[in-house]
């Protein structure tokens, strides 16, 4: 196929792949470097069926102004990646220094949400999937060999 023909042939598909796959991924990567603006808090009088009380509430108008001036939010560099919900660098370091045994370290790491999910996925990949594969092959093979 001529290069020219090939180019026109894949152009529609390329265009939509860039538009609906590549650009959203790039957008997510950029957004992942930001967190929400600090909420502007105000004290308000709040009345309901039970009683009136003074409570702290976020001020949506003030926060909306902040959002308008910086729509992406507050720049947070890679801290979302390294916070406790994800790679948890600080927590890993403190578990390493405080745990006395290696087992203690492992159980501390296992308590962190990301690593717990990771352990689970790895266990599944290396234990459940191979057993499925091998048992699925050898049990029928064994059955066919029965007299």
């Amino acid at each position: 196929m001529k290069h020219r023909t090939f180019f026109w042939f894949i152009l529609p598909s390329l265009f939509f792949m860039v538009l609906f796959i590549a650009l959203p991924i790039a957008s997510v990567v950029v957004q992942s470097l930001f967190v929400q603006h600090e909420q502007v808090m105000v004290e308000v009088e709040n009345c309901g069926p039970f009683k009136c009380e003074t409570v702290i509430q976020a001020d949506p108008d003030a926060t909306a102004d902040l959002r308008k001036s910086a729509p992406l939010g507050k720049y947070n560099s890679l801290k979302t990646y390294t916070n406790r919900s994800h790679l948890a660098f600080d927590e890993l370091a403190s578990i390493w220094t405080t745990s006395e045994t290696f087992a203690g370290f492992v159980s501390g790491v296992y308590n962190l949400p990301f690593y717990k999910a990771l352990f689970f996925t790895l266990t599944y990949t290396f234990l459940v999937s191979p057993s499925f594969l091998f048992l699925g092959l050898f049990i029928p093979l064994g059955v066919t060999r029965l007299p």
Partner: protein, 400 residues
């Protein structure tokens, strides 16, 4: 298109046109209100509704869109807070003045001087007991959680039931609510005063978790799946002697459907127990009400408001008197309302309307199952709750 010309004739509430679309939680009292509002549909008034237990996850994105997917959201003093934080609700003062003559003053939820929602029912979790079973073991209805434990042990020891107790401990919002209630019963404070910093890792927090774990010994090992929809049929089947339930579900338990007369006759709502010698019941007061989206046209807002005022009319209350503790004047309190009244008069506090309370509630729901299953210590769980909350609050901009 024949309907369009007769719009006024079809729409019984004096609405000519507009879009009404309601998002609500899924239980009988709310069905009653929304169905009554639906009577305003017809002609060029379009109506749609979505009753779902996932309403809290949907409400933010659905009301952020412009125009909003739903014109109204049935909220509680818990679920309204994220909508207020994001400024997604419109003040209702004008609409109340124009169309809200039938609403009582105590129904108006006023925040910073503006009416942001119209409450129509009160709710709280409290204990219900089976009088016949308590009589068999010679006990009275428990007023403290320590007595709940004693009574449950007596029922088990008498060989009547192995698992006589249940509370709403499904490992989602439900379990979070039980932790909140029990911690309040212990007199705990959720946050350091004046800040958004969680402070639950203390002796009261430990006592809260230990009490929940002790109670779960008398609840079926399936307890992490127990929401109202799961516990109500077990109660109606006569397999429970004590349960902590919502006031709004008592009406369904004592009606003549789904159970035997013997169980229904002996089902008695009592107040919420206190715990650890405290005086405040381990329960929180709730209201349910309607609020109107900001990102919709004024015409749709007006149509929705009129329809929902119709939804909470005296006619609706009279037809559904026992489905909830209604706040409207037409309500006649019956047996099903006794529990909520007792909780309120015992001095229970309303659920805290703090913008970051939902994040802490979510952290309870996510971390406490590990403790109840015996995988970790109470102190570890509480430390995890504070850490998970802090991370979430930082991402949402409540903490630096």
């Amino acid at each position: 298109m024949t309907g369009a010309g007769f719009g006024t004739a079809f729409a019984g509430c004096g609405i000519d046109s507009g879009r009404i679309s309601i998002l609500a939680n899924d239980f009988p009292a709310l069905h009653a209100v929304v169905s009554k509002a639906e009577e305003c549909a017809g002609g060029s008034v379009t109506f749609s509704k979505n009753h779902t237990a996932k309403h809290q996850e949907l409400q933010g994105p659905a009301l952020t869109a412009n125009p909003a997917e739903y014109t109204a959201k049935i909220v509680t003093n818990g679920s309204i807070v994220p909508l207020l934080t994001d400024g997604l609700l419109r003040p209702l003062d004008d609409l109340v003045a124009k169309h809200g003559q039938s609403l009582g003053k105590n129904q108006l939820i006023t925040i910073d001087g503006k009416v942001m929602a119209v409450a129509f029912m009160a709710n709280a979790q409290h204990l219900i007991v089976r009088q016949d079973i308590l009589d068999k073991v010679g006990k009275t209805a428990p007023t403290t959680y320590e007595q709940v434990l004693e009574t449950a042990e007596a029922i088990r020891a008498a060989g009547i039931m192995k698992y006589p107790f249940a509370m709403l401990t499904k490992s989602d919002w439900n379990l979070g609510e039980e932790v909140v209630n029990m911690y309040i019963g212990h007199g705990g404070e959720f946050f350091k005063p004046g800040t958004a910093e969680a402070s639950v890792n203390n002796a009261k927090g430990v006592a809260t978790l230990e009490m929940l774990k002790a109670l779960m010994q008398y609840s079926n090992p399936d307890f992490l799946t127990y929401n109202t929809a799961a516990v109500a049929p077990i109660w109606e089947a006569g397999e429970l002697a004590m349960a902590e339930m919502w006031g709004s579900s008592v009406g369904g338990l004592i009606d003549d459907e789904g159970s035997t007369p013997a169980v229904v006759k002996n089902t008695v709502p009592v107040g919420a127990p206190t715990v650890a010698g405290g005086s405040r019941p381990a329960s929180t007061l709730w209201w349910d009400g309607f609020s109107i989206a900001k990102n919709i046209s004024d015409e749709d807002a007006e149509a929705t408001f009129i329809a929902l005022v119709n939804g909470v009319s005296s006619e609706m209350v009279k037809a559904n008197n026992d489905k909830a503790v209604w706040l409207m004047d037409a309500y006649v309190p019956g047996k099903s309302a006794e529990g909520v009244s007792m909780v309120a008069s015992a001095g229970a506090e309303p659920y805290p309307m703090l913008p970051y309370m939902g994040l802490l509630h979510g952290a309870f729901a996510a971390e406490v199952p590990d403790f109840l299953q015996g995988n970790e210590s109470a102190e570890q769980t509480l430390a995890d709750i504070e850490a998970a909350y802090t991370t979430a609050a930082q991402e949402k901009g409540f903490l630096k």
